[in-house]
């Protein structure tokens, strides 16, 4: 696709395609959104927003992948979640009216729309079913956070790594050769699981020896999902 072919996506179409939260808006609200939003493009490594800053709006992802993380001790990142097409990020800070508690960095080149806080707040005030959907979203994320807390507190690194691999396949799918669609460095994997880079490397090559995964640089293919599920101790 040539540069001049890139079009600002239409919210109406995008929200339906992606199933984003905006599909609950009324036509005139969608129009307002289309008018007020600011379309932006970012490349791998770019930062959308940073922990500790006040944020004047939030982002809706149209394409690409973004990692949302907190910076802990010695600058070590803890990845909280990923965002892809249809997801919104930074809405937490906007709604709680707090400083950003996370940073967001591009993993795969992306196109996003920036939407000013006031628009979100006004939709909540005028469209109660939209507000309810937002609540549903926030509460769902809260449930996932709770599970993650329990996992990190109780499971071993080995168990968590297996779980994360399965989770990544579910969330991002695989390409035509069955390799995981999302490409992460070993360090990023470690920063999801909550461990050291070397541990991820060692465990991955163990998984490889056990014929659970196939490795090709950053590309990972799951060869034995049942086996990984067993290791990860998920029966829910």
């Amino acid at each position: 696709m040539k540069q001049q072919d890139i079009q600002v996506p239409l919210c109406e179409r995008c929200s339906l395609e992606s199933g984003s939260i905006f599909k609950h808006l009324k036509p005139d609200e969608i129009d307002l959104l289309n008018y007020e939003k600011d379309f932006r493009q970012y490349k791998r490594g770019d930062i959308l927003y940073q922990e500790g800053n006040r944020i004047s709006g939030f982002f809706c992802i149209n394409s690409g992948i973004i990692k949302v993380f907190k910076t802990g001790l010695d600058g070590k990142e803890q990845i909280i979640r990923f965002a892809k097409k249809g997801d919104i990020i930074a809405y937490r800070s906007v709604l709680s009216n707090e400083l950003a508690c996370t940073s967001a960095k591009v993993i795969e080149d992306c196109q996003v729309c920036f939407i000013p806080s006031e628009i979100l707040i006004s939709f909540i005030k005028t469209n109660s079913s939209y507000a309810l959907e937002l609540l549903k979203l926030a509460c769902h994320e809260l449930g996932e956070a709770n599970s993650f807390i329990t996992d990190i507190a109780q499971k071993t690194v080995r168990e968590r790594l297996a779980e994360i691999l399965l989770l990544l396949v579910n969330e991002f799918g695989v390409d035509d050769q069955q390799f995981l669609q999302i490409s992460l460095t070993r360090e990023e994997l470690a920063n999801i699981v909550g461990t050291a880079t070397e541990s991820v490397i060692r465990l991955l090559s163990e998984f490889k020896s056990d014929k659970l995964v196939e490795l090709n640089g950053r590309k990972i293919k799951l060869l034995n999902k049942k086996g990984l599920e067993k290791i990860s101790n998920v029966f829910n």
Copy 2:
């Protein structure tokens, strides 16, 4: 207080006293709440609701303390948060329309009001500033969950224990002898920190040797907050 003296609390007064989320309701909504709510009393050890069940409403705490936890591997509890006067619990499941992802158990005898889901949903539909407050609450909790994830993933047990002690003092305060108001078993402490009971015991007695805390059975007094802050690595 004799049994017959116990009164069903009035939502209007309770919400103002406790600063609960219901203070944003309009008078006629408060009346409806008063009418629809179901006042209940529970004793230490009682269970309010359990993980995996569908919940038909949520609880507003009038007095006492409740622990909210997930059950992980081998039935080990991970305490997610505590609820005290003015807090609401189980609203997550109600709003996300999911099964309960946690259980709730009484730590200190409590009086609570049970409020049917429909009431909450109807308030959201009719009172947008209330909806916004609920969103604020959920998003705030989400931020706390994110911090907790990062802590558990990156800090040592020693650091986390120090942090939790400080946090408990902040949240529940101390009695006239400076002892922490909330009384937890060692196992419960371990289930917040995410460690083994024995580890908590050992670390607490280390803290005692280092004159950081005073111990008297379950009663804990913080003697040197600065020292504990230093150990806990909190500078935020």
